[in-house]
Subunit: 418 residues, 2 copies
């Protein structure tokens, strides 16, 4: 049962522990992570029992099958989580990097180093694997962490974090450094996002509603992740076969992800040879199209796209399609409706490719590739805590370095300012 | 006269212009800056007349002398502003840096480049030199800018920005890229800080009240600057003469600045030989001391420091002093009352120096030097738009690179995700 103030007590304990955690050397942090991976598997019985309880309650509550599937834990899924933790152990330590510096004319030595942010709050929805993932990334980056998961996965998340904390502490994890908020109530989220001076950053992971709520209400710093109204623009000079392949993949490969395409823009000069085959391809893939007038001229049965459609992240097999007069019209459309996530052009024209990459304001701008590649693992970062759609601090896939800040160390021998 | 919506119109014009400004090459941007410097001096007559009007009104309104001094413009001060603009022209371009990248296993080429933030809002108080400063730094970093200065300097700021805009446009500055909000009313600030999706970041420059108001109320991203409750800790192993020199300089060199010391912490084992001479030195410099009990034992006439004193950024010749039992007590005091700006230890003990630098959570941590060096020019950055006391995006003195974000460019030949 939630009581006002309980989150603060947990956050204070985590903040106090963050100092020692932040100073652990790489070897100790890696040993903690490896112990956590082993501890997770050693606690398989307790975790799967807890998960069975969550699943049973979820079925009684009538949760959708897709939701229940994300909630389900199995031996294989636990093993994947353990592998994920071990992979984080194998990544370079983001803390203590010497990022720059100088010997100043007055004899001061200035050194810019990377340091942990301090205490990170993670607010997330159904999937219990986020628990292990977030703990591993925070420990590796020397950050204390306080977790608030979705209520449907409460017992699963608690069992996972209990296992990791117990195993981690035996290997040197400072007591209190990892905190799990063990209540269902949303009031706990409200308390968490108002702990000014204690929480250094909150990262919401989940659906658009969760992210919007956190961003709008938090008084602590937030990194906005996720919302992706992504476009693919098929230029007049596109290779038609490539354009069909990319525009199909960007929509249907995994429609629920934020890097999937929601709107297809087509240059009028290629529409006649591209759109008929594309629309036929989408029909076979069960994609529902909302088109502008020119797109609908290729299929009278198609629904008209509304202003609302251009703004919508469908996250399913729906797609908006618009024919544009020029690359500038495509870029203007993206500027108006895009969320700064991932945008693509398909073209064989060098100038058009460069023009599009320079003028589209988004974290990731593709030429001749599917927007589905926007992902920390695909980019070779070895990890991902989320995809930032903001411009400050982090933009695009966020990995371990984005969980650090910097500090200037200045060493002197009595310098004073004149 | 302010009317609701007028700031949005200006911001929309600036945002539209930001695309072209962001793509200008370095040579053109430098030419614009040099033309602006010349234009500033060519408009000396108009600017000094406008300033005379502000000064006259300020005197009638009974503004303090120190305030009027900051407001005053002279030939020399204009020449300094022009020199500052030319110096910004001489700095490296922060836009278009290739910050990393990789050839991915699937044949995609990933390139991480620095790009302008887009549209920056600057909200500032009395000094008209900030107008020139902010415009120059934003132009160099390819950002459009919208300026809201203090009402006491309205005509001076307007004259300066008019001169820079006119001269800049002749040299290629895109029309609308620099916007000055030509009204006195604070409602304009309120409108500015709620232009979500238009303003990429607001940077408040001025007193604690202004910064607090902007940080608390803005719905657009803000970079918090300025508040500095800075400490100097005189360790048991300090060189007494050096400690006196540093602790004097950190307080009296320019007390109104955010990097000046507000609280002196003294290890109990050095108090007997350090504090009598230090307190005598402060007395000669007209510093008023608020002490804890042990500090007051050296001067019975000294006022007692209250809980409020430890939290206060005096910005004048007042100082709190406390005797501590250990370096850990000093660090705990700084953790509790510091604002994460600049902190210093004076010691000849290697372990103590390293321990302090590792454990104090602040932008700048000094050993054996005055905190007064926290400054973009002193650090060799060649510019400064403010000193960030937050951990995300920018920390410590902010120069041109902190006015950029990143973008990933991904180039392929038809890659789709399996």
């Amino acid at each position: 049962m939630y009581e006002r103030g309980m989150v603060r007590i947990q956050a204070e304990a985590a903040k106090a522990a963050s100092v020692d955690l932040g100073l652990l050397n790489t070897k100790v942090k890696n040993d903690i992570l490896l112990a956590m991976a082993d501890g997770l598997m050693a606690s398989e019985k307790e975790i799967l029992e807890a998960n069975a309880g969550d699943m049973e309650k979820g079925r009684q509550d009538g949760l959708r099958d897709s939701f229940l599937d994300r909630l389900l834990l199995t031996h294989e899924r636990l093993a994947q989580m353990a592998t994920g933790i071990r992979q984080v152990a194998s990544l370079p330590d983001p803390v203590g990097r010497i990022l720059g510096g100088a010997n100043l004319p007055n004899g001061l030595t200035l050194t810019k180093v990377s340091v942990p942010l301090g205490l990170i709050g993670i607010i997330y929805e159904a999937r219990p694997n986020v628990t292990a993932d977030a703990i591993a990334l925070c420990v590796k980056s020397g950050n204390a962490v306080i977790l608030k998961g979705g209520r449907e996965a409460l017992h699963s998340n608690k069992a996972v974090s209990d296992a990791l904390i117990a195993a981690g502490q035996k290997a040197g994890l400072p007591q209190g450094a990892v905190q799990f908020i063990n209540v269902e109530e949303r009031e706990a989220v409200d308390e968490l996002i108002h702990l000014d001076g204690l929480i250094d950053v909150v990262i919401p992971r989940g659906g658009a509603g969760l992210i919007r709520t956190v961003v709008r209400n938090a008084s602590v710093p937030v990194i906005e992740t996720g919302a992706g109204v992504c476009h693919t623009y098929v230029d007049a000079a596109a290779d038609v076969a490539m354009a069909v392949s990319i525009a199909l993949n960007a929509k249907v490969n995994r429609p629920s992800t934020c890097n999937s395409m929601e709107t297809l823009l087509v240059h009028k000069n290629i529409a006649d040879c591209f759109l008929p085959v594309m629309l036929e391809t989408y029909k076979k893939a069960h994609v529902t199209i909302f088109g502008d007038d020119r797109t609908r001229s290729y299929d009278a049965s198609m629904a008209a796209a509304t202003e609302e459609d251009w703004r919508t992240e469908y996250n399913d097999l729906r797609l908006s399609v618009k024919v544009v007069d020029s690359i500038d019209e495509a870029i203007a459309h993206i500027r108006r409706y895009g969320t700064g996530h991932s945008e693509a052009i398909v073209t064989d024209n060098y100038e058009a490719a460069r023009y599009f990459q320079q003028r589209v304001d988004a974290a990731c701008v593709y030429v001749n590739a599917s927007t589905r590649f926007t992902d920390g693992f695909e980019f070779g970062f070895g990890a991902e805590i989320g995809i930032s759609t903001q411009k400050l601090h982090a933009r695009g896939p966020m990995a371990l370095p984005e969980l650090t800040t910097i500090k200037y160390l200045i060493d002197g021998n009595g310098q004073i300012r004149s």
